[in-house]
């Protein structure tokens, strides 16, 4: 196990500010403090060479988790080991073996050509000259940015800049790559290229990759395993195609009716997910498939009807809704 996390929690306090002159004056004397639990008691472990994606809505705790794994933040409680090191002790030997890329923060110097920043990283990570030249050559080749090394970073497009950021992060050949929203703001083509690069790089170097993303596509394409987080808790850990099993093999039935029906009639049948005029959507257990179909066909003016699996997005949305109450992890 290259990463082992056990019962990690992180909470912090902040003060509330309301608008208006009156509360400004009140604020002079007394500030209301509030506590937010960003991450609550999460545990998981990751093996060398895995690609694991953290999925979850805004503020779910994905980035906070990543920051604790990279040693930027101290947890409130719990433990984590990355190659046997505790990240927040910030040992140099530990730092030399991983890299973090944050989609919204850059480490490259804005007014300089990227190669100057890369050279700085070479000095910081003490990469020897030959190794540096080889890695740089390989990465620029792979990402197709050889000609752009001498262009000021501020003149590069967002996609090109991201590629340079990646080179800067990989120049010392880290064993673990942590990615926080690596494709944010990029156009579809750049997103795809970056994803392909990660997939190739992981296969080729056996580098462990842990990423967070809003984009389902990122996770679906790159990760064999996803950890879904909501309200700071893990609600799912496994392959995305298993989300449905976790939801208890539910199915969706879509109906088109010839005329509208009263809602109470539908509610007798089962769980109504959506209901609009003549279009109805039910969610039900797979085991009830016969009973449901028969009842619906007998009692409702059905024109058309289909039964399908729950799409992954909807499955995850269902997990978010149920998150918090049910969070046993694999």
């Amino acid at each position: 196990m290259i990463i082992e996390v056990d019962g990690l929690s992180k909470s912090f306090t902040y003060h509330k500010k309301e608008l208006g002159l009156k509360s400004s004056i009140q604020n002079l004397f007394r500030r209301e403090m509030q506590t937010k639990h960003a991450v609550s008691d999460i545990s998981f472990s990751i093996e060398e060479g895995e690609v694991v994606g953290f999925l979850g809505p805004n503020g779910a705790g994905k980035t906070t988790t990543l920051k604790m794994l990279s040693g930027i933040l101290h947890p409130t409680s719990g433990s984590a080991k990355v190659f046997g090191y505790t990240p927040w002790e910030r040992k140099n030997e530990f730092k030399r073996q991983f890299s973090i890329v944050m989609g919204q923060k850059n480490q490259l110097w804005w007014d300089l050509p990227a190669n100057e920043s890369l050279f700085l990283n070479k000095c910081i990570y003490e990469v020897d000259d030959v190794e540096y030249a080889r890695t740089l050559g390989e990465l620029t080749e792979l990402l197709d940015v050889k000609e752009l090394l001498k262009v000021q970073v501020r003149r590069l497009s967002l996609g090109e800049r991201m590629k340079m950021e990646l080179i800067a992060a990989l120049i010392h050949k880290p064993r673990i790559l942590l990615l926080d929203e690596p494709t944010i703001g990029l156009d579809i083509i750049s997103q795809r290229k970056i994803r392909e690069f990660f997939k190739y790089y992981n296969r080729d170097k056996k580098t462990t990759i842990v990423l967070t993303s809003h984009y389902m596509n990122d996770i679906e394409e790159m990760c064999d395993r996803s950890i879904i987080i909501n309200h700071g808790r893990i609600v799912f850990d496994g392959g995305l195609n298993e989300v449905n099993e976790r939801l208890g093999h539910k199915k969706i039935m879509k109906l088109v009716l010839s005329e509208p029906v009263e809602e109470w009639v539908l509610n007798q049948v089962g769980e109504v997910k959506e209901f609009k005029d003549t279009h109805v959507k039910f969610v039900f257990e797979q085991s009830e498939i016969k009973k449901m179909s028969r009842w619906v066909l007998d009692h409702l003016p059905v024109i058309d009807f289909t039964i399908e699996d729950i799409p992954i997005e909807e499955g995850i949305a269902l997990l978010y809704q149920s998150g918090g109450e049910k969070h046993e992890t694999a």
Binding site: G20, L21, S24, I25, N27, L28
Partner: protein, 269 residues
């Protein structure tokens, strides 16, 4: 009536702003103690070493009082909105004001006054305390009529300084990096206005030139008035000149802003 309440709202926004940044303001005010210390010890050393009663036409207690009040006055009339305006012009933040019924100028004035109103109370209260201390300690003359007259010319000084810097801020329409120019101007204007030393130390010719400039009506004139060293006609003339200069800079700023806005809109904001 609606417009009226809009101004009031802007004013209260300024007040809120100064409350929000109260730590800054009080630290800033506390920071005034250091220039005061420099001035105090410097002049004390100069007076005791020279053995003279009068240096540059000032007695010891007049010089100390001047220096202390000059530091406070500089704090009181100081402006920072020119930097905000430059930013608004640079990144297009000005657009949202151009479509509002309240003019940008009025917005800035009321916001400035709102911000200053709180600071003014504190600074003036502090000035009165210091005056009383100086009175007890150095026999500094405290004279109620002069204090009242002083309170009359302070708003004019504030408005004059507002219009000077509002005019200056229009520079940002032509130069994107105006902050350097702003800072240089503020430093020099403070010296020319008597915020560092009384104008009398610069020699008669320089003093005459500086008196012809508007800046001395912001710091030098109000403090000289408060110290009771000006005659009735001089006070009247000074107050008059303040109004004249306010008029001049109001006109100048209107002109510059009209020109600048034409350019701003022409290039598409």
């Amino acid at each position: 009536m609606r417009l009226h309440s809009m101004y009031l709202k802007t004013f209260s926004l300024g007040v809120q702003n100064s409350l929000e940044y109260r730590t800054n303001f009080f630290l800033n005010l506390f920071g005034a103690i250091f220039p005061i210390l420099i001035q105090f010890f410097y002049w004390r050393a100069v007076f005791t070493s020279s053995g003279q009663q009068i240096v540059f036409g000032f007695s010891y207690n007049q010089m100390i009082a001047y220096s202390v009040l000059a530091v406070l006055m500089s704090k009181l009339i100081g402006t920072t909105f020119q930097y905000e305006i430059a930013r608004d012009i640079k990144d297009g933040g000005l657009n949202k004001y151009l479509v509002k019924p309240i003019g940008y100028l009025s917005y800035r004035i009321f916001c400035f006054l709102g911000e200053k109103s709180v600071q003014m109370l504190v600074v003036l209260a502090l000035s009165v305390i210091i005056m009383l201390l100086l009175n007890a300690w150095l026999d500094f003359p405290v004279n109620l009529p002069y204090i009242l007259l002083f309170l009359c010319v302070v708003p004019s000084a504030l408005m004059l300084n507002f219009f000077i810097y509002y005019s200056l801020s229009a520079v940002a329409f032509w130069f994107t990096e105006a902050n350097g120019a702003f800072r240089t101007f503020a430093l020099l204007a403070n010296i020319a206005g008597g915020g560092l030393f009384p104008l009398d130390i610069y020699g008669p010719v320089t003093k005459a030139i500086l008196l012809a400039l508007p800046f001395n009506y912001v710091i030098y004139f109000p403090i000289r008035l408060l110290s009771g060293t000006l005659t009735g006609p001089e006070i009247a003339a000074g107050a008059m000149m303040q109004l004249v200069w306010i008029g001049v800079f109001a006109a100048l700023s209107t002109l510059l802003w009209r020109q600048g806005l034409t350019k701003y809109i022409a290039v598409g904001g």
